[in-house]
Subunit: 340 residues, 2 copies
């Protein structure tokens, strides 16, 4: 018998998500019950991601809201400690979607094998995982990125944003990153090679943000990769070029309260007429079946150090709810993971 | 010498456009000054269109605002009364963009020949002109319409909207029309074959409009062809399907004041994530070079009575400013033109 600690999602938040919405549970897992074709995985890193907050809202129309009374859904990477699979053996590292728990039994088809020779396996949740997938295909597929583009990225120091800015630089674009601290801005400029940065906390009003963007993107904006929404996005609509592509990957500024009681903002759709721009929602899962294609191009970039990454590692399974909450305060640079 | 009456755009509106923003001018036109390759056209019908109000705003980012002190820009159809062109002869009917004036000298390359055997020439401003072009290519090109789609159209009884609903019906879709009077709704259902109609004046709140749409589009919304914006559009975002296409052709509810001082509305971009929908601005001029393609398919529809149209004809050149103003009160059914 294995003692398996789990965080049970117990109560819907109406504002910020936190510890009070979870209950810690311990179940006994009988490893003898592993079925043929399954593997038993011991979590090493467990993910916290902004999308979780959307799923928790009963007002989302994405899918049924995350049910109460079950393990919080999440990606993890871990080690196979027992295998009844012919494809995956004991000692292999895998990425799977088994939520906030220490152990899980997973059908082999739902576990993605990781190659620790490319990069540390925690990257399976970040720079070579779900956030990277939406960064990569968002820019290349939905965004139709070309080297002449000016690319503006909100949440630029986050897991997705920091990948987006680097891919855009590799593709030859002018890249503007928006983040919320001097430390993050320094990271973006000095380590990731971003051309211009804006601290949104010092440019909170629409006019200030518009002026800052005007300076940072003197030729207007061709791609806006949006992780944040709100006033930043309002300002972007003043500066979009003909046939600009606005990619909605996240709206983290709206998740605390805005899903239940929408915030008001200026109506802007008439501006779409002037530019014939497009706005498109993008989601990592839409590109699940193209993971090999991404690893083929991005794996070598990561291995060669051309694509850099930072991880904010929170230690301890017990800190999962606090880590998730921290995302909405922007405490992370790069991908935030919890080390079990 | 010809006495040529002209409406000069003289003052920028901050709210509703009206007579007070124009000055009536009479110039003397010397027909002897017609250059080789030009034709002299006598206007028969002159156009008033909602887009004019956008151009008048100094806040539009579409292009430079319509200059003051010159003839109000507009399309017209008229008869060639003198020709120095080899392609267009005296007595021909043409469509050209020469503004609110009775006569104009036009280079042959800027005049589109009309075929009066297909339909009355006033249709060159409507069902076979600019509004039809954005209806047709908006649905077929940007909207990628397919017969399984539920298509919702705001401003459904207007020049563009009444064309959109009919094309969508011809393509086999379920079509919901939104308009502002019983008369317009009757027209949509009884004459144009629309499947369900909503009177937005009786459903002014977000909840009411959402409920009405829910009833009219029980399988959700695949294409929203938006001419109006505001609360109608807010409600639509509650009901869009996976990969829905939202086409922004107009935002007439915002033109009186919203361009200068944007109205506030609920932030909705997070909903794009749930559905991976797209929002795209569409403009008739982007399809100028595909006019033949449109006439080839739509000309026979009009001739056969398969595509119906109504025109709201205002008599008298002197009524042009009032006619334009009336668009924003929804006084028209179908295309509004002024008969000179």
């Amino acid at each position: 018998m294995i003692e398996n600690k789990q965080w049970i999602y117990a109560e819907r938040p109406t504002g910020r998500i936190g510890m009070e919405h979870y209950i810690l549970n311990v179940e006994n897992l009988d490893s003898a019950s592993l079925k043929p074709g399954e593997v038993l995985v011991k979590a090493m890193y467990i993910s916290v991601d902004p999308y979780m907050r959307i799923q928790q809202s009963s007002n989302n129309t994405w899918e049924k809201p995350h049910p109460l009374g079950v393990v919080q859904g999440a990606g993890m990477v871990g080690e196979v400690i027992l295998s009844k699979s012919k494809k995956i053996k004991k000692g292999d590292f895998v990425n799977c979607y088994t939520g906030w728990q220490e152990y899980a039994m997973v059908p082999e088809g739902e576990a993605r094998l990781l190659d620790p020779k490319i990069a540390p396996i925690s990257t399976g949740l970040g720079i070579l995982g779900m956030p990277a997938r939406v960064a990569y295909f968002g820019l290349t597929d939905a965004g139709k990125i070309k080297k002449e583009d000016t690319v503006v990225v909100s949440g630029a120091a986050g897991a997705v944003g920091s990948t987006v800015v680097q891919i855009a630089k590799i593709k030859g674009c002018r890249v503007v990153g928006i983040a919320g601290s001097q430390e993050k801005m320094d990271y973006l400029v000095n380590e990731l090679g971003v051309d211009a940065v804006i601290n949104y906390k010092e440019n909170r009003g629409l006019e200030e943000m518009t002026a800052a963007l005007n300076k940072a993107a003197p030729n207007g904006i061709d791609i806006y990769y949006d992780n944040v929404g709100g006033v930043i996005t309002d300002a972007v609509f003043n500066l979009i070029n003909h046939k600009a592509r606005i990619l909605i990957c996240g709206q983290i500024s709206q998740y605390d309260h805005g899903l239940e009681n929408p915030e008001l903002g200026p109506r802007f759709l008439h501006k779409m007429l002037y530019t014939r721009a497009t706005i498109q929602g993008i989601l990592s899962r839409d590109y699940n079946n193209r993971m090999d294609e991404m690893i083929e191009e991005m794996g070598p970039w990561v291995k060669a150090g051309k694509l850099k990454y930072k991880e904010t590692v929170v230690e301890g399974f017990e800190n999962l709810p606090a880590a998730l909450s921290g995302l909405f305060e922007g405490v992370n640079t790069g991908k935030m993971v919890v080390k079990v």
